[in-house]
């Protein structure tokens, strides 16, 4: 008899990588278990895309919870996870941590609405009196919120019946704090993509090398470092271009000013947010090299990096966090913030079309072997069985 699973996640049309992640995973998971969806987007779902799975708002779970063997909660930092997080804390189940740090999720529900009491409670839960003091200092304007010093995942981790992560980086940190908790690493699912390239729309010169960065632009994503390296590469290889696909907050990154300052007008194309996934993948297929830098990292899994591998694009990342666990033959991993190494790698890739193609195909092979959605779904089910096994209580 198939397991009955309540599956909590943001789902399309929500603009978050985790919605797309669930779209990749669910058809395969639904073959192995009876899935019911709980999502704020329950009324907007394309039934065909989700195999006609029943969908309800998250708070409908309370009345139906006895119908299920277990609940799975997809947790990330965006606002789409608020109601999911509340249900995870209230009813428990398996928590999937897409990022090690959930500080932003808590801050958006507390500090952002002026509720420092709840923020202090959460900080104190995680760090004791020191956490309460940090919260008080943040409220008094004496320090920034410690996003990178304190992950604020403790309450979720303690309450869960089991935790799934997508990297050893995250799992090791959790095991260090919770040696008795059930913790497993499952591959992030990604289907190979053969979307037609939209490169023709850019009207680039023949033989041009197109670099690209995708997703929401923030200063943690080190776009300035990438564009500075690009400007240097362009001195010797002028037939290079850079495509930026994703929205940015002008208070965080003044992209037009940055492009102007680096003298890159005409060489950098900014498309902004592309809501349609097919079009997004078309632009991903258009570039030769995807630059996906992030520092510091909160242990997040990058959907963009996975999509770049699945699309057979050459990929450049910093060698830390989840990214460090990508197969070395599948991408170029650079020491974090090493500008000279970044410049060198971009110059090498710009000069070597064959090398780019080979790197891309090795990445695509790695995506196929390690991140096939069917494998991810099987790993999910194996973990569900581990959590539900009689006498398997770890605490």
């Amino acid at each position: 008899m198939k397991r009955k699973i309540a599956y909590f996640s943001p789902l399309p049309p929500a603009h978050t990588g985790i919605a797309d992640y669930s779209r990749e995973l669910l058809p395969h998971l639904a073959q192995l278990a009876e899935i019911t969806l709980f999502s704020d987007q329950h009324a907007q779902l394309d039934a065909a895309e989700f195999c006609g799975l029943a969908a309800f708002p998250p708070d409908a779970y309370a009345a139906r919870r006895w119908d299920f063997d277990i609940a799975i909660y997809q947790l990330g930092n965006s606002a789409y996870h608020r109601s999911i997080g509340q249900m995870a804390l209230r009813y428990g189940g398996i928590v999937v941590l897409h990022e090690y740090g959930l500080h932003q999720l808590w801050a958006s529900q507390t500090v952002a609405v002026g509720d420092y009491v709840r923020y202090a409670r959460e900080m104190a839960y995680a760090r004791g009196a020191e956490g309460a003091r940090w919260a008080a200092e943040a409220q008094a304007g004496l320090r920034d919120l410690p996003h990178f010093e304190e992950p604020l995942n403790a309450r979720f981790a303690d309450t869960a019946l089991g935790i799934l992560a997508h990297s050893e980086y995250v799992a090791e940190r959790l095991r260090g704090r919770l040696p008795q908790q059930r913790i497993a690493v499952v591959p992030a699912p990604i289907a190979l993509d053969e979307s037609p390239s939209l490169r023709d729309r850019l009207d680039l010169p023949v033989g041009a090398c197109l670099f690209g960065s995708f997703g929401i632009v923030s200063h943690h994503k080190q776009l300035e470092a990438a564009l500075r390296a690009f400007a240097a590469v362009r001195q010797s290889s002028p037939n290079c271009y850079y495509l930026l696909v994703g929205e940015w907050d002008p208070r965080d990154v003044d992209l037009p000013a940055l492009v102007e300052r680096l003298g890159l007008n005409g060489a950098v194309r900014c498309l902004g947010h592309v809501p349609d996934l097919r079009e997004f993948l078309g632009w991903l297929a258009a570039v030769d090299v995807v630059i996906n830098l992030r520092h510091p990292t909160v242990g997040e899994t990058s959907a963009i990096a996975l999509r770049a591998l699945a699309a057979g694009r050459a990929l450049l990342v910093y060698d830390e966090g989840w990214y460090a666990e990508l197969p070395s033959e599948a991408c170029v991993k650079l020491p974090p913030l090493d500008q000279a190494a970044l410049e060198r790698a971009m110059r090498d890739l710009a000069a070597n079309p064959l090398g780019r193609a080979e790197l891309g195909s090795r990445g695509q092979r790695a995506a196929r072997e390690r991140h096939a959605p069917a494998n991810a779904a099987a790993a999910y089910l194996a973990f569900v069985e581990q959590v539900l096994a009689p006498g398997g209580a770890p605490k």
Partner: protein, 143 residues
């Protein structure tokens, strides 16, 4: 700590201003300046010095007393803060441990609910099977 140090520094600066002192008359007028200053001093000695000096002295005493009182209040405030902190710290620790206990209980409750749910479904299955058999039996009943 920084606040306390700032407060001490402000008190020190106030105490420098607390005692009123007489200022000598000066004049910047060339050549005649010393004469003018001397005249003003002489006139002051006759008309106002003996009246103003006791007032200044009284004001200085008042300022000193006020500063002493301020320093005493500051010390009392600091002592109260420390006392309050000493009361709050264990209370805070207690609340944190309660919060953590609550999370542990929630975990245990989820674990128990999960086990209970599985048991209920296991119980339902034979009952459902019996029900299915009974209905198929009744279906076979020629009556």
């Amino acid at each position: 700590m920084a606040d306390a140090a700032d407060g001490q520094e402000r008190l020190r600066r106030l105490s420098e201003l607390a005692v009123l002192s007489e200022q000598p008359f000066v004049s910047r007028v060339p050549v005649l300046g010393p004469l003018i200053a001397g005249f003003r001093t002489a006139w002051n000695n006759i008309s106002t010095r003996w009246y103003v000096r006791p007032l200044a002295h009284q004001q200085s005493l008042f300022n000193r007393a006020l500063l002493d009182e301020l320093a005493a209040l500051r010390a009392e405030n600091a002592a109260l803060r420390a006392e309050l902190q000493a009361l709050i710290a264990p209370l805070q620790e207690w609340l944190i441990s309660q919060d953590r206990d609550q999370a542990e209980l929630r975990h245990d409750l989820s674990e128990t609910a999960s086990r209970l749910g599985q048991l209920m479904r296991q119980l339902d299955r034979p009952a459902q099977a019996i029900g299915d058999n009974a209905s198929s039996d009744s279906g076979d009943d020629p009556a």
